[in-house]
Symmetry: C3
Subunit: 445 residues, 3 copies
Amino acid sequence: MAKEHSGLLAPLRVNTRIGEEIYQLAAEIYPICRSITGDGVRRTIDVLTRHVPFRRREIPSGTAVLDWEIPKEWNVTDAYIKDAQGERLIDFNRSNLHVLNYSVPINRRMPLSELKAHIFTLPDQPDLIPYRTSYYKESWGFCMSHHQLAELERAGGEYEVVIESRLQPGALSWAEYLHVGETADEVLLSAHVCHPSLANDNCSGLALLTILARELARIRTRLSYRFLLVPGTIGSIAWLAENEANLGNIKHGLVVSCVGDAGGPTYKRSRRGDAFIDRAMTHVLRGSGTSPNIIDFFPYGYDERQYCSPGFDLPVGLFQRSQFATFPEYHTSADNLDFIRAEHLGASFRWMAEALDIIERDRRMVNLRPKGEPQLGRRGLYTAIGGDRDAWTRNMAMLWTLNLSDGRHSLLDIAERANLSFDVIASMAALLAGHGLLAETCGST
Amino acid sequence: MAKEHSGLLAPLRVNTRIGEEIYQLAAEIYPICRSITGDGVRRTIDVLTRHVPFRRREIPSGTAVLDWEIPKEWNVTDAYIKDAQGERLIDFNRSNLHVLNYSVPINRRMPLSELKAHIFTLPDQPDLIPYRTSYYKESWGFCMSHHQLAELERAGGEYEVVIESRLQPGALSWAEYLHVGETADEVLLSAHVCHPSLANDNCSGLALLTILARELARIRTRLSYRFLLVPGTIGSIAWLAENEANLGNIKHGLVVSCVGDAGGPTYKRSRRGDAFIDRAMTHVLRGSGTSPNIIDFFPYGYDERQYCSPGFDLPVGLFQRSQFATFPEYHTSADNLDFIRAEHLGASFRWMAEALDIIERDRRMVNLRPKGEPQLGRRGLYTAIGGDRDAWTRNMAMLWTLNLSDGRHSLLDIAERANLSFDVIASMAALLAGHGLLAETCGST
Amino acid sequence: MAKEHSGLLAPLRVNTRIGEEIYQLAAEIYPICRSITGDGVRRTIDVLTRHVPFRRREIPSGTAVLDWEIPKEWNVTDAYIKDAQGERLIDFNRSNLHVLNYSVPINRRMPLSELKAHIFTLPDQPDLIPYRTSYYKESWGFCMSHHQLAELERAGGEYEVVIESRLQPGALSWAEYLHVGETADEVLLSAHVCHPSLANDNCSGLALLTILARELARIRTRLSYRFLLVPGTIGSIAWLAENEANLGNIKHGLVVSCVGDAGGPTYKRSRRGDAFIDRAMTHVLRGSGTSPNIIDFFPYGYDERQYCSPGFDLPVGLFQRSQFATFPEYHTSADNLDFIRAEHLGASFRWMAEALDIIERDRRMVNLRPKGEPQLGRRGLYTAIGGDRDAWTRNMAMLWTLNLSDGRHSLLDIAERANLSFDVIASMAALLAGHGLLAETCGST
């Protein structure tokens, strides 16, 4: 078994164009104005479905889901603030961040005094437009740079304030794709699809999961992989409500967002704290040559909040580069296509693929010659000594694997104890198994 | 329940005069010459009984208590060393530390050569009178500053050495007060009453416990509170011997001494090391803005030695400011009324009250909407975002409480995990319970 | 019991000549050319048997032992490289390291070009001869200093290359000595006997174990002590194969090598990691006034690799001064009699004796007066206070022992918790037992 799967994810790791492909896809969906409902989500799903046969799900406004209710559907076609001369000082067509997400429609002339209560800026970052929402309280507003506000104040007089939006019964949409593996055990991979033009948060996550799904679709896997592109909070709550009966299949999971910048990597553990995904991600990131930020669960962030609520307590962590809310570009117009890079997306992809590889390949082996060391030299397994660092590592990996394959330690346990990569341990385990020195025990990890 | 008790101890914490009241009471008992038996103890109890209806207990000399026997009662009325001219060079009336505590009577003239074997000084702290005792070996002696010894030597000739003391059958005395709460579960609060004019060790502890008892007497509590003012070692041993059958009621306890100086705070864990009082005191002191000294149990110190002997192993810790035997004033005449301050006594009181508050209020709650997050905004629970640090803390406290209220975590568990104060967690738990989102599980912590 | 054994190992620790005796014995066996088989091993055993009645065991070539087979026996009588003038440029008689250990015979003239493939030097340590072996692959070769190689190259012309060795059916030899104690429980003490003239690795270990066996032979012990001097790897494997049925008796064990240099001390834990020997050695070394290097098990090193293979998993650690392969003299001609010192051998002996002392004396005691502290003063046990540091330590040792002797803590547990030496705890336990305050529980640790 170990042998059979060992190479399955290998191609993913060597495709040097993966990062570039993810970037291009992120760039393609970047301009779309998304929200938690509406056509922006549908258009985004349409684009991604060109790569992976996502199934779009819709659930009508007003449906009760857990403690929540599906809200009205929101769509916006135009929005602006014109000065007395009819010039558009603020124009939705230039940035969809300008509209407070989920604004009710407005079309009135008003003085600055009245308008100002509906304007959001970032005085400390005067060049940037903030991203703001008002999903569950009916309101309207404009987000703009602090410089734009100053300009607007200079214009004076009355302003024509228009938001052409509709807030009416419709549906909540999400995308789902299941890659069926040999077992019903599932890996849940989830990204939020509700943010408008923010590149890292979360065009990067949507594009990465889409390309990962495309690559997985080509290969045979032991586990099944469920990809979810859901509006934040309400989307995962709706999905959980609809799929409550099948959650027992979910053995591992990751929420993915902000995977395209140069920071981190960051991994936030599942609520359980010692789930296998927590150990696999930690192993990969600690061996990545970076200084990863591995943090314990806390009940704030993305949809891991819902997956890790106490009534579900799924083994789902959060993978990011820079941790959300800690970088200055977060939730501003500076989270644009310059902020993310193909190389960072590629590295994020690779680390996730390595963690999935561990999930696929980990198992418990037993040493069939457990009394004393078996004579490796006779079998040509012991690499000659010399300055060869790789040979040394392979020899140590063999010795560790033989010593700890007592039925209690899995390959990941051994890799952690030996402080060697899972990959070299799994490879040497396969080699030793090929020489009749190891056998797989019944039951994987 | 949570709501009902939440404010019970609150008044204790806001009475800004508490520190001053404790100081005044400590000052009142400071001049009395106490020992492990005798009228000094009785007079001290009399003073304290003006504030709290302490019950004085007496147990006759010669009574066997555990491995010990109640000693003869000791009283001293006068003591001095006169020079050849009849001038009192050392005078008990100036400091009761001058007499080796439990000295047998003496009335003789003698030269320095004979006297010197009975003199105790601190050559490294030549201005200070040491505090010395000889409870269980009949002896006599004088404690004095090293300067006084030099003066005495200068006087020369024969000295008239007088200690007017009586060591004869009598009784051991202690004070006890029980504040009866809703349950028979008891909190034991113990201070030693045997030291003469030492302000921090332990007029401070006697006064603090008396004022705490006075305040508790005014309110309804869940637990019962037993206050013990006992002579060190023999007093707690006598009490343990008399109350062995009821020790099972003691669920928490603190020995208190040296609570008036500027040092520490210090908390020495119970022998168990993970008793609830250990966690409560650690939580309070770590959140106090100081750098507390939290130390593991060791079998030396105050009466926690007896309460934590292996045959009893009660959950009793030791609370101090500066740790005993680590400050230069310890067991010297410099441990006087200048060494303690109302503000420090007030802070010590506050921290103890906060720990008792945790004991009173901790419980396990269960999230009644455990699947996904409940929609807090709809219920007006989610405070609007902004620069409001307190609002952020309250929001996080709600999210943590909901996430961890799974029947396994108590409110203190949650506070520790969230790194938030018990108070904010307990307050938010009460708020959530009021909105039907949490319920108390049967059985408190 | 505690009393009876307490002094058994004491003489070992005070014999100030022990270090010198070990050194002299190491020096005596240093010149012998040992290998994993052959007369060098037999001669070494003969020398050591003058001090201890070792039993020599032989097992014929070709015998299957676990996954291995006893190799042919190797003996060498002479070896050299002569230049065209017939001068010995390299001469086995000057250093037995010159011959690649287990070289097949050779007797040919050849040019440098052919010879060079069979020469081993250390270019980074040009003065030193390396130690190399080729046990399981038939080969021949010469080890020399890099300077010697240069000299040889300067000589030019053809070389006469001679190794007078025999590789033929014979036997594997080892030495074994069992000191029988009161119980069948055994302590295994093992050293490798296969290295030629290397003083630290492992004449030091062989000599130390021999002198330790000699000393133990004189006294009564609770446990039995099995001393093994075995060729590395194949020797321990052969012994394990022959003694598999009795391995259950081995309760503790140490592999010993490189115990004569100034480094370390180093202790490598058994595979179990928490075996009693691991705790005993850690306690001794951490209390030794050095900065010991305590490391977890890893499956590389000496014969602990075999004892700790998963099919045996014996509680055997490795004791060294400098850790193998970390000091520049390791496996070179610089590991000579100047590199080891009597004082270091003596200290190594002392620490091992202290650890064995803990094994002999550890037990669980119960406090017979567990309620409150017993009155030590009445029994004359409480040493008067004063500047006496030892008295303070003894008092604290009594208090700790009384407090923790609850049937759950052994004397070593208490010593670890109290951060006091096992010796003072065990001595005070014996004293308290003599006063009827402690009794041994049935069953030792």
